[in-house]
Amino acid sequence: MAVAEITPQRDVSLVDLVDRLLSGGVVLTGDVTLSVADVDLVHVGLQLLIRSVEDDDEVIP
């Protein structure tokens, strides 16, 4: 069981960043640029990223 504290430079926090910017935050106007379909596509890509980051971790001592 590992606990990783991650910094803004690390890829895993990119996943959390995208989660927050695309589905969180104040919706100030009716016309936010991205459609729900776009957001879902980004989320699918992100899950792949998490996996790839985990694979990379195996290389780092």
């Binding site: 069981m1 590992a2 606990v3 990783a4 504290e5 991650i6 803004p8 895993v12 926090s13 990119l14 996943v15 959390d16 960043l17 995208v18 989660d19 927050r20 910017l21 695309l22 589905s23 969180g24 935050g25 104040v26 919706v27 100030l28 106007t29 016309d31 936010v32 640029t33 991205l34 776009d38 980004v42 989320h43 699918v44 899950q47 998490i50 996996r51 985990e54 694979d55 195996e58």
Partner: protein, 219 residues
């Protein structure tokens, strides 16, 4: 058109942060009715959700976050001009001011419980039965993570929000609104709670601006 990054108290936005917004545009501040908004002007702007654009927005918001309470906007928030921004701030003044009071003195911390690669099921299940068993096992581990990790963290937080939709390998994801001074204790609790779990890892991210605690909408 203008691109909006955050809403805050007027004193939080003074002086205007010395950095550039999306596309290298200068940051500006509009003040209306006791509220300030940080924005930039653009001739044309079609922001795509690239990592660079999102980090630019995030760092712009973070420039205000250390000074005081801030309400981050969702990515892609654009308005026609300053007049429209002032009009929106005025029309939603009470709601936005209450939102600032809600997050004052707090930061958001993220928790993600991810299946360990070694313990994760194989990519392609051999049969429909194996597939179902794997899903049951994933569900069981997610519930265990929620019980063992989330509950003590939620007690340390002012508010918490569990993400309903997650996809493998993420088993559990949640956000916590935590008093700034309590963030180290929160991280220590993540380590303590996570040590009892097997087959998963817990990742704590942040501090973030309070993206998950700006309205009543479930995520």
């Amino acid at each position: 058109m203008i691109y909006v990054y955050a809403v805050c108290d007027p004193e939080t936005a003074d002086p205007v942060p010395a950095r550039r917004g999306l596309g290298g545009a200068a940051l500006r501040v509009a003040v209306a009715d006791g509220l300030a908004a940080l924005y930039s002007r653009h001739r044309t702007l079609q922001p795509r959700p690239s990592p660079q654009a999102m980090w630019t927005q995030e760092r712009t918001v973070r420039a205000l976050m250390d000074r005081g309470a801030v309400l981050p906007m969702r990515f892609g928030t654009q308005l026609a001009d300053e007049a429209a921004l002032v009009e929106t701030l005025t029309a939603r003044r009470d709601e936005l001011a209450a939102g600032l009071d809600r997050v004052r003195g707090c930061v958001e911390l993220g928790l993600r419980v991810v299946a360990d690669r070694l313990a994760a099921p194989p990519q392609a299940a051999e049969s429909g039965r194996d597939y179902l068993l794997e899903r049951v096992e994933e569900h069981r581990r997610a519930e265990q993570a929620a019980r063992d990790v989330h509950a003590p963290l939620a007690r340390l937080a002012c508010e918490s929000r569990v993400r309903r939709r997650t996809a493998a390998p993420t088993l559990f994801a949640a956000a916590y609104l935590v008093e700034r001074d309590a963030a180290p204790a929160f991280r220590a609790e993540v380590e303590r709670a996570a040590a009892g779990l097997s087959g998963v890892r817990a990742v704590c991210t942040g501090p973030w601006p309070p993206y998950g605690f700006v309205d009543a909408e479930e995520t």
